[in-house]
């Protein structure tokens, strides 16, 4: 634990995690469950049944008022004004130079009411940027993180577990939609969003209602394979799903285009927005780097920051790496030099996650794992796609 436990913020569910015997860790200033038992088992439960997550460290920022839609169109690279009430969108907030300040999910709750969900480490910066960018545009920006709990139920059994506990009609709640609902008797905002590559729900509730909601879901899911799941499982789940993590794939030094997420930048929306000029220039240029998936031909695990090699020379850097519980091999995402990526791709098609390593064929890339060049193949992202999608 790098941060002293006594100085960390506790979520409204910290006591429950301790009761459950979780291994707690410091994360972005919060005391969070890393795992309860085995993170691999928690990962597998989310893929096969369901997992219950405390995500109350995430930032919830309310943007309200007659100018809320315009203010967000100016502040973010997406177009929240085009969202219908009840819908949500993955988007980003960028600096003037196009660098990513954070990736966000924006929920439109009503015509003049939005909820912006930010990463824990960036909440204060995002709230300050939104407040400054909204100035004079008729919108109020309020950081509600301290009063708000966020609980996620993720996995193929999530809907069956949640249905008896809510008045919402889950069959009518589409992916990336959300609205107010009662959950376990408490008023909440219920959304069909997540960060695991599975079907699932996120429940935004008042801090004082969090423990009751958690216990009700844990009870309803007990017979359906639901287990509490920690940040360790969340990280391997999102990596298999090819989802970027701020601080790994995303930072102030990369634009959305570098991360292969140029589609979130709405250059054709009316009016100016912060970062527009830099991003428009960037959109017209060949990429300076590409985000690629890698599968390692070894059991040694690539980690954040390890060099990627092509023909013996460095051609990139691993941003995230882990042993994939679903695939049973180590996987990674990495930024690669575009020429090297093209050459590697030309030497053989990207390995599909399900393929066995092409026998005998020489791997096009290698990862320097603590001084040893370990062969690696390019892989199509995401590494994992849930059945039926």
């Amino acid at each position: 634990m790098t941060e002293r436990a006594a100085e960390l913020r506790r979520t409204p569910l910290a006591g429950i995690h301790e009761e459950l015997g979780a291994t707690m860790t410091g994360f972005a200033g919060w005391l969070m469950p890393l795992r309860y038992r085995s993170e691999t088992a928690e990962h597998a439960a989310v893929r096969s049944a369901a997992g219950l997550f405390d995500l109350s460290h995430m930032g919830e920022i309310a943007v309200t008022g007659p100018g809320a839609a315009d203010a967000l169109d100016y502040a973010l690279v997406g177009q929240p004004s085009a969202l219908a009430p009840g819908r949500a969108r993955y988007t980003m907030i960028c600096a003037e130079d196009g660098g990513v300040i954070d990736d966000l999910i924006v929920y439109r709750l009503a015509a003049q009411e939005y909820l912006v969900v930010a990463n824990a480490a960036n909440t204060a910066v995002v709230a300050a940027e939104l407040a400054s960018r909204a100035e004079g545009r008729g919108a109020d920006v309020t950081d509600r993180t301290g009063d708000c709990a966020l609980i996620a139920v993720q996995g193929p059994a999530a809907a069956a577990i949640l249905a008896p506990l809510t008045d919402a009609s889950l069959g009518d709640l589409r992916y990336y939609a959300g609205h107010r609902a009662r959950v376990a008797g408490a008023q909440a905002m219920l959304a069909r969003t997540g960060y695991t590559g599975e079907d699932g729900f996120e429940i935004f509730a008042r801090a004082e209602d969090a423990a009751g909601i958690w216990r009700a879901i844990a009870g309803a899911g007990a017979g359906l394979g639901l287990v509490p799941a920690g940040l360790a499982a969340r990280d391997t789940l999102r990596l298999e799903a090819g989802m970027p993590l701020y601080g790994n794939e995303l930072s102030r030094d990369v634009t959305p285009f570098d991360a292969g997420l140029g589609r979130v930048v709405k250059l054709d929306k009316p009016g100016p927005f912060v970062g527009r000029e830099a991003l428009a220039r960037r959109a017209g240029q060949p990429p300076q780097r590409v985000l690629a998936g890698l599968i390692v031909r070894s059991r040694r695990v690539p980690r954040h920051g390890y060099p990627v090699l092509h023909a013996g020379s460095r051609c990139g850097t691993v941003t995230s790496g882990a042993p994939s519980p679903t695939l049973g091999v180590p996987i990674a995402m990495a930024y690669l030099d575009p020429q090297a990526a093209e050459a590697a791709f030309a030497s053989g098609p990207a390995r599909q996650a399900a393929d066995a390593a092409p026998a005998g064929a020489q791997a096009p890339l290698a990862i320097d794992i603590r001084g040893q060049a370990v062969p690696a193949d390019l892989a199509a992202l995401p590494f994992y796609r849930r059945p039926g999608r």
């Binding site: 795992r35 059991r299 980690r303 882990a322 603590r370």
Partner: protein
């Protein structure tokens, strides 16, 4: 967190059981718990000379990798092939089926005085909490 009385320990969280000229080595319950699910263990192959306090392998878990240190001087005589097949044994049974390698102690072996007793090791892990 269990710390068997009859074993000796290192500051780096290995345990060692010395019987005659043979020493069996593994990582402690504390270590496996701190690491999380072990996915790969690299140990020195039989015949490798190892020295007390020197890194001689690696333990990979989901979140991190740690060096493995030899608690004693000698030559590796045997490695646990079952752990290679099923690294989860290190989590499930760190002092039993999850042992990692055996060393034939060097004849002129230095007395491994740096090793900790169970009580001393328990104090060490309590301080780390």
């Amino acid at each position: 967190m269990t710390v068997p009385e009859e074993l000796q320990y290192t500051q780096e969280h290995e345990w060692v059981k010395i019987s005659g000229s043979s020493a069996t080595v593994g990582i402690t319950d504390y270590a496996q718990h701190a690491l999380g699910d072990v996915v790969y263990v690299s140990v020195p192959p039989p015949g490798t000379k190892v020295s007390a306090g020197e890194p001689c392998g690696e333990v990979e878990s989901t979140k991190s990798v740690s060096d493995l240190y030899s608690p004693v001087d000698g030559e590796v005589s045997e490695v646990n092939a079952e752990v290679d097949e099923n690294p989860g044994l290190v989590n499930a049974d760190p002092y039993g089926a999850g042992w990692l390698f055996r060393v034939t102690l060097a004849e002129n072996a230095r007395q491994p005085e740096a090793l900790l007793s169970a009580a001393e090791y328990e104090d060490l892990t309590r301080e780390a909490e």
